[in-house]
Structures are given as C-alpha cells and as structure tokens.
Amino acid sequence: MTQNDAGDSPPALRTDQLGRRYGRVWGLRDCTLEVPAGAIVGLVGPNGAGKTTLLEMIIGLLEPTEGELSVFGETSHSPMAARLARVSYVAQDHPLYRDFSIADMFHLGRSMNPSWDQALAQARMDALDIPLKRKVKSLSGGQRAQISLTMALAKRAPLLVLDEPVSSLDPIARLEFMREVMATAAESGLTVLIASHVVSELERLCDWLIVLTSGRVQLAGPADDLIAAHPLLTVPRATPDADLPGVIIQRTDSDRHSTVLVRADPARLAAQQHPAWQADPVSFEHLVLAYLQRPSARAATDDIAQAAARPGPSTKAVSR
C-alpha cells in the first residue's frame, strides 16, 4: 500500500513546538513535524541528540514540557489508553519477561491490549518454527527480537516505533527482522518510525527522514523531496560563498575545486547557476551525514523546510 494523500486521514504524527526539559537541560526543543500515515520514517542523530526523548513522548512513556503532540489524532489531552492504543513499540534491547513462555507473553498481549490479534501472533510463530511453550530465556537474541516484533505487530496499532531495532543482532537476524517489518508495512499500510544511527541502512528502508542533533530538528521531510532540494555543486575553488545559491550545508575545498552541498529550490539554482558549475544529486547517506556534521544551529524555517514537512504525494518522478 502506498502513502495516503493527506486529505481526510489524520497524520500519523504531528508535533508543534514540542519540547522536553530535564531539570535545566532541554532534551528536545522546538520540534515541529507532520508525518503522513503510511510513511516509513528514519530518525537519525547521534546518541544524546534527543531521539529517545522524542520517541518516548510519541509512545506515551513521557509527557512533553511544552508544545503539542498528536498521534493519529490523539493528543496529550486524550485519555491515556486511547493514546497507548495508537502506537506499538519495540525498545532497543527487546525487553521480554525472561521466565515467561512465548504463550505467556501472548497471553499478556491479549490481556493488556483490546486490539490484540492472536491469530497473527500464532501465524508468525508457525512461520518462524518456534513452539509457543518455549521459555523466553531459552531463545537466541534474534528470536527474542522476533518475539518483541510479533508482540508489537499483533497489537495492530497504526504506528510502529522501533528504537535501534537491529543494533544488537547478527546480520541474518537483522535481515529477518526488517523483512518482516517491510512485508507488514506493504500489506497493512503501517506507519513505521525507526530510530537509528546506522545511516547506511536507512536509505532502502525509509521514505521519510528526520535528522536530530542537540535536541533540535535539523532536517525533516520526505526523502525524495529533501534530496531534490539539496543539489551537490562542484565549483571552482575561488567561488565565494555569497555567489552560491540557497543555504550552504557543507563545503569541502580541494586545491582547485570545491564541493558544496546547498539547500536551494530548483528555481533558485537555475537563476544563479554558473556554466562552470556541475550539479549532481546528493546521495541519501551524504545528505544525512552532512547535516549530522554541521555545527549545531537552530534549524532554519525557510520555504524548503516547510515545504518538505508538508504531506503530499511522494512518488514524483525524480531524475537522478
């Protein structure tokens, strides 16, 4: 299933000036986003950037200090049970009750979630060939990750949040895990939010991107739109910054030439482009890394960023 046009269904996630303070330190500040239903979002940032803070507020494990948050229409003023029902969560270390059997874990799921789909849980265990009576502590790391994922999927919530889901898994287990997530997303239009600091894996997984550093959103929007808005220019070394269109994100100087990543819309670029310059599309990974490396500044709220954050059809034909 494809992303919905924003039309009538509420966005999967909307935040407005969302912030959270711990004592005197702001873990997250000025976070304003609108993620459409059906998107698969990569949330990237170094450790301590505010990823976990944002995730916990989305899940309902933490309350905002300021600003507004809504998940599929349920705000922080909605009843807690309604908020919790909108989100499934797989935490980083895949926590489970070690002395429970898998059947016990599913019984817990049934007991604590009105929307629990036991048939789905059972079917997944059959597909993975794991008997229900096995105890959690006898399972391998990869199997435990699959159980955690099953618990989250069987809850049948429209938003699935994964916090660094595969960092502790071997390559085969990683692949199996993400295969299941992607297949489920294809089938049910699930919205997925994956927090990760392994940028190289995200390109094939995500069509939406949020870059977070020092508690602030540096970049957010559909991946295709963001890449289209960030041409990678190869220019002569002597070219001054002022001549370059848009906002300079990263400039790398060699002896005779410079490579500059700018944020500029196509019209701006066409108006200012010099014949001697070469413009290429930036790669997903390069874009993310450039923003991660930027000395932290408040995220600019210029036209491009706002346009990127608005929902819209995602499958424009993009010439690469």
Partner: protein
C-alpha cells in the same frame, strides 16, 4: 491485567504457600503434643475453678516443657519473617521492571501505568492479607493451650495473634514497593525497606505498646506469693491470667488488663496499616508524576 499480575507473582505465591505449609506442619506437630500434655495434666479442670493456683506443679511442668521452644523460636519468627515476606514481595514489584527495562514493555501496552500499578497492588495486597490471616490462624490454633495459661497480651505472643502479623507484612511490603520505585533496584530496595521497618517495629513494641492506653494499678499482698512478672508466672501478680504486668513497686502493681487485647491489636495494626497506605499512596502518586 489481573492475569498478568497473577502470572508475574505466581512464583512468590508458591513460595509463600510453602512457608505457610512448613509453618502448618510445625504447628500441627507441636500443637498436638501440647494438647495431649494439657489434657494429661488435667489442666482444664484446674483452670475451671482457679486461676492456676490450684495446680501449680502441673502448670509449672507444662510451661517448662513448652515455654522455651515456643518463646525463643517464635521470637525470631515474629521479628524477621513478616518483614522478610513483605520486602521480598514488594521490593521487586516495581524495581524489577526498572532494572530489567521491562517497564518499556509493560507501560507501552494499552493499559495506563496507573491502572497497571493499581491492579497489581490490589492483587498482591489481597494475597498478603490472606497469607497473614492464614499464618495468624495457624499460630493461634497451635498456641491455644499455652494461651490459656499466659493470656496473649505478653510480648512475643501479642506479635503473632490477632491482626498485627498481617499488618507487619503489609507495612514491610509498602515500604519495599516505594523503595523499589525510588532506588530502581530490587535488592537495595529490600534492604532499604527492611531497616526502617524493623526500627519502627521495635520502637512501637518496646517504647509505645505498653502505654497505648493508660495502665491500671492495683495493690497486692506479696507475702502470699504470685508477685512475679512475665510469662513464667501463672497467674500474673494481679491474680488474673492474661494481664500484662508492667512493674511492681512495693505492693503496687502497674498492669494492662487482659481484656484490652483487641483494643491494642487495633491500635498497633492501625499504625502499621496507616504506614502501608502512606507508602503505597506515595508510590502511586510518584509513579503518576514520573511521566509528567
């Protein structure tokens, strides 16, 4: 949610049942032999028309035979076991979830964490009340013959009949649950709860209990004997079985009458239950605030 609470505490429930069973076995063995000895010594008939003064030798023989085991063994039991049960059950209730990170699983299901805690506390508290009542019943049954000679206002005996045993367990439990939330680790929470519990327990017993109500006084003629205090003397210096003698100065005996047993039970149990409610209330409030 009820099933989840039960399943998570199933192991503890089984251990508690085992403790209860062991206690019951001990009680039945000793209780039966006490009843036999009581019958053999014809103490029932003797007590019917005197306060034990008519058969001092039989009384002495009985109390010597069963007195020491009862007192010393049970001293340890009444002091430590209710506290241990309470902290072992309560210390890990919240702390274990925090220690192992399973709170991220437990509190992201569709049950708000306030309800999660309320159901758990209700179920476990209920279980502990049933356990306490059962333990009290077993001990009271077994001690019945001895109680007819000594009454049950005495220190030691008071601690495990009536209501207080259950209240001790609940208080230790409440302290441990709160400590678990604050310290986030099970074992430190158990220790941090047990120490103040024990301190309060000892202070209430030895500083306050004797004076829950103003004691009465009476004068006796000590020349005729029976001017003793404590369990070994039957009857007490007041001439009645069951009175708790606090002091004797000259001919004046200061004492608490036997019929105050239930009043004192309610007072002491009330103190511990109030402490339990305060600890659990604080826990619920703090957990609610944690997220905000």
């Amino acid at each position: 949610m009820i099933w989840v609470s039960w399943r998570q505490h199933r192991g503890q429930a089984i251990s508690c049942l085992a403790v209860l069973a062991a206690l019951a076995v001990y009680a039945i063995l000793l209780g039966t032999s006490m009843r036999t000895a009581f019958g053999n010594d014809a103490l029932t008939a003797c007590l019917a028309h005197s306060q034990g003064t008519a058969c001092p030798a039989a009384v002495q023989a009985f109390t010597n035979k069963f007195g020491s085991e009862v007192n010393i063994a049970f001293w340890a039991v009444t002091l430590i076991v209710p506290g241990l049960i309470g902290v072992l059950v309560g210390g890990s209730l919240i702390a274990r979830e925090l220690e192992y990170g399973t709170w991220r699983l437990a509190w992201s299901q569709t049950v708000p964490r306030a309800r999660w805690l309320a159901v758990k506390l209700a179920l476990v508290t209920g279980g502990l009340i049933v356990l306490g009542a059962a333990m009290t019943a077993v001990i009271t049954w077994y001690r019945a013959p001895m109680d007819r000679l000594t009454g049950h206002l005495q220190h030691n005996i008071f601690d495990f009949e009536g209501l207080v045993l259950t209240a001790y367990i609940l208080c230790a439990f409440g302290f441990a649950v709160l400590a678990g939330l604050l310290l986030r680790r099970s074992i430190p929470a158990m220790v941090a709860a047990f120490i103040p519990w024990l301190a309060i327990r000892l202070v209430i017993e030895f500083v306050f209990r004797d004076h829950f109500l103003a004691p009465l006084t009476t004068t006796v003629n000590c020349m005729q004997g029976g001017c003793g205090e404590g369990i070994g003397f039957v009857p007490q210096a007041t001439g009645r079985i069951g009175d708790l003698v606090l002091s004797i100065q000259g001919n004046v005996v200061t004492y608490q009458p036997a019929d105050r047993f239930w009043t004192f039970q309610f007072i002491e149990a009330g103190i511990f239950v109030a402490l339990t409610a305060a600890a659990l209330g604080a826990t619920i409030w703090l957990l609610h605030r944690r997220a905000a």
